[in-house]
Subunit: 329 residues, 4 copies
């Protein structure tokens, strides 16, 4: 079976997914759409597929699945439209900024029974996927402590910050999902601290750029997350997981394997800076997993429920930061 | 000038200090004492020095300084005795389990003007000392986030746990001091979580074996500490410090530099397991610093005030854990 | 300008190049050919291009360049045919097993003026290309010593060994080219030793599986190469270059960045085993460089002369091994 | 039993050995001697032992063993004197510059039956000793290839070079011994190349500063050694050993474990520069092994035969370099 796909939204992430689909054997990119016609036309020309209206893609009889890569505030309607048209749905995170809206989306997805994948790309990174696989295999025994370090190379423009929903919903949401992915026991309590240390304009915009969150589970397991909007040495994406038998950790991917030794010592290159480069393999595996789930009629993973849980954790972190107190989940 | 030293307490740490003194040029070990005569005699024989009564050492005219390596509950009296006799004091941590008692010791130390070093050995580790030196040199700019990972290879006997004052006062106190050493701005708020995941007997003894603490400063800088009483791969002692210009991190010291490559991949040996081996260089530098401070008439660093601050942080962590709430300092 | 390309030979390497061309903006794959029609048809179907006869590709007016990925003994005729038809030529290594034949190819390439790239893929590996770039930038000053370690994960079948031309021409030829690429001064003397330690059948086939070669230049610079047909821990591809100001070294690419710590120590995964995976980025950059050279009318690099020089070094190594003596070049 | 020791020669290496003896339980330093009385007096004062004449130490009834740390040209007479007086002998490398003289020393050592240790300190380095132990344990199966990289931080003064016996006898002799230690099969053929690339004054002094040697055994196993008198990044001491089941390698010991990450990437400190620091643990283990061999009446290892074999390899390398040809051993 070949899965026929339409891509909604031809921005940076839509382009990545479109190009990826072209490289996957049992998938076929049929059409793309974008509110900006020129964006759709450019991608369509590159990939030699049709431009259609978004509505037309949702209802097309020659399309099995849609990739939703449009702005977050359009997700709700597109999910409803696609689900009601019986299309499998691949939706960029966050599913919606409102937990209530996500719950409404869950209803329609349940009611229609369409496959739904929440695009937490990092789960598909070969390094982090290896962590999960080895934890499940029992290599470190019961997990006791997860430490996640996630730092962007540099802050986005203030205009982006202002519309982002804040660091917890825009950036740490990935780490909340990763924490759940690796801990495999739901968190019951969360404590957040944060400050604007990188750029005072971020504080003026009402956001923070440096944050630390502690999560605990009912059985006493702990997760520490730290985020910063700045890391001189590249896109810092590291995780360590401690269990009774040992530790698993995933280090950064550096630009090359070259080491330069001088009288100053031994220098290796920065971590890969650009998220599309850093997670290139993850983006590929993510589309593969979505297509494979449709072909094999298994539920895509992570599903819409995972999108909800991560959003709840992000909202709760914002609440904890505002109140200065831990919050029960 | 040669500093003439008496060692009080001939247990494991007293032995280390005694042997170290023998290797330091401008120091001379004169006598040792211990409540258990045989312990003192054994060490004295090895090091070819006299055994004296503790009281006699405190008042000896041929002794300039004392190393207090006796049980914690004797520190208060020995500090008072030594200070009143005008001896320079090197005191193992914790100075005392009671913050009030430490404050009383500060009074007598101030009143007598004797040099006092609180033996936070990790400050003298060449790796951690390098972190501090480079932070002070401005290599990473203003510090934003400190992450300290500190894990013992295996829990001590339950009998030890019962008398230890608890994980925060016995184990994390080192990390509290390290956090202050590296952050160089006092912490104003602390939040602790913890559980007994390693051994249920530890819970029965009223303690925890796994903990995570978040500290913040008035200017919004953050420190995350994690502790565990268990680390299969050795004595895990790692620190990373993030600043505006980059990161400094100190990795573990492994047993050898040998890597073994097979079809399973590349294997390196465990981290050094034993704290006396891991911190051998630190114990040496610590005594050197004490002797040097006496010779050059500069105040030893860390002083008794640092012993107080670390104890306050440990007490506060215990309070935060008990209440489930952050505590202002 | 879009370069229109035909791929001759649809075996493993032809497939790689065909797929790569599809991903390059200013290149277009027009047709493929293979002596085995089914091989050509399968690749053509996958890539949605035409199957043509090899002869037809060589003379086609809608094709600008050919990729020669056929068996080595066909290269001579194909190079002549393509050159006389004015096609740009991308030729897999070795250009030919006979140095005389390569010289004849050089004549026709010169006479016709067609662009020619000898496909030493490792030059395009981002790690090794970084070594070269930094050497040229003067980062380590004058090069003094190059050490190349190159080990296959496991020996090929004996049937392959028998037709391979021997380890020096089949395997170390890559390292000879790399040595020239990094040293940038021609070698004047070569000494080779070798043995069959991996598999006695290799000795029976008249070949070796373990070898060490020392090369020197007129100015006294040295290169040490070692090869083995076996490396339990993956495809071992490492280089270090020493100069007056320091060292540059390229380490292996491991399967993931995951480290697993237990009471045995710290384990990382094997090096990538499969050459197509290890050199994936190199194969891409190689085709890009070929296309770019055609578009910009600059001579492709490495050229046919580099193919000749590497072959001469391989022949000389075989001679040195047979005689037990160093050989002047 | 306590082994009573006299140290002959109070230069840099004699001081190291003297201080080490003071730290070893079942050894006692009795006296030191030096042709320069002040040198002996200074060390004796520091270690609180007697100064005696060399001759008096050799014949003393209260001394069991001597450490010969005097200039090489005095070794011959001292070995004879000590052996005839029944003293155990610890002799710095090289035993003698002349192979014939070493053979004569072997005769007297054999005749008198005194224990003799040739001080190839690197065998006692914990990293290299681990390589040997694991090879012997069969961890990598039969050894196929040994690669030794040995580079000094900077060349010694020309005056030292002139009296050194040349790079092979002064510097690579350590690597020849290491090659034998790890290969555990004698070498049968050797080929050397070398140049003066670091300093033309070294060429004028008739020596080289950069060299590469290839050694082979009767069964076809190979060792590659490279040496340089210069390494900007510290004292470069690395070994890798390949066997049928995998590889063991020993990396450099860096100054600290601190990594510094900036926009330039990840920087670690240089390798330990000073040989006394780099091999501190080895010097300690070496004296321990000597004392232990005497106490347990087992032959010290490496013995005088190992001193002979390494010298033969060094002489042969000089011959190969001069002739430009491999030489059979």
């Amino acid at each position: 079976m070949v899965v026929r796909i339409g891509v909604l939204g031809c921005g940076r992430i839509g382009q990545v997914h479109g190009r990826t689909i072209k490289r996957i054997d049992n998938a076929r990119l049929v059409a793309v759409s974008d509110a900006v016609p020129r964006a759709a036309e450019t991608l369509a020309a590159e990939l030699q597929v049709e431009v259609r209206q978004t509505e037309a893609i949702l209802t097309a009889t020659d399309i099995d699945a849609v990739i939703i890569g449009t702005p977050t505030d359009t997700h709700f309607d597109l999910i409803h439209g696609a689900a009601q048209a019986g299309k499998a749905i691949f939706c960029e995170k966050p599913v919606d900024m409102s937990v209530d809206n996500i719950r409404a989306c869950i209803e329609v997805v349940k009611a229609t029974g369409v496959p739904f994948l929440t695009a937490f790309n990092r789960r598909f990174d070969p390094n982090f996927a290896t962590l999960r696989r080895r934890i499940q295999a029992g290599d470190i025994g019961a997990v006791e402590l997860v430490i996640i370090t996630s730092r962007d190379p540099a802050p986005p423009p203030i205009s982006y910050i202002e519309r982002s929903g804040g660091l917890f919903r825009d950036m740490m949401i990935h780490d909340f999902d990763m924490a759940r992915f690796l801990m495999r026991e739901e968190f019951t309590r969360l404590h957040a601290v944060g400050s604007a240390l990188v750029d005072p304009a971020i504080a003026i915009a009402g956001d923070i750029d440096t944050a630390a969150v502690t999560l605990t589970t009912a059985s006493g397991r702990i997760c520490q997350i730290s985020n910063s909007r700045r890391a001189a040495y590249g896109y810092d994406q590291r995780i360590e997981v401690h269990g009774e038998k040992g530790m698993l950790r995933a280090e950064n991917q550096l630009e090359t394997t070259v080491e330069f030794a001088t009288d100053s010592g031994f220098a290796r290159p920065p971590a890969q800076h650009f998220f599309l480069e850093r997670y290139e393999a993850a983006y590929f595996a993510e589309i593969q997993a979505f297509v494979s789930a449709i072909v094999h009629k298994t539920p895509p993973d992570p599903g819409i429920h995972d999108g909800l849980q991560a959003q709840i954790l992000a909202d709760t972190a914002a609440l904890s930061l505002a109140s200065g107190q831990p919050v029960d989940l």
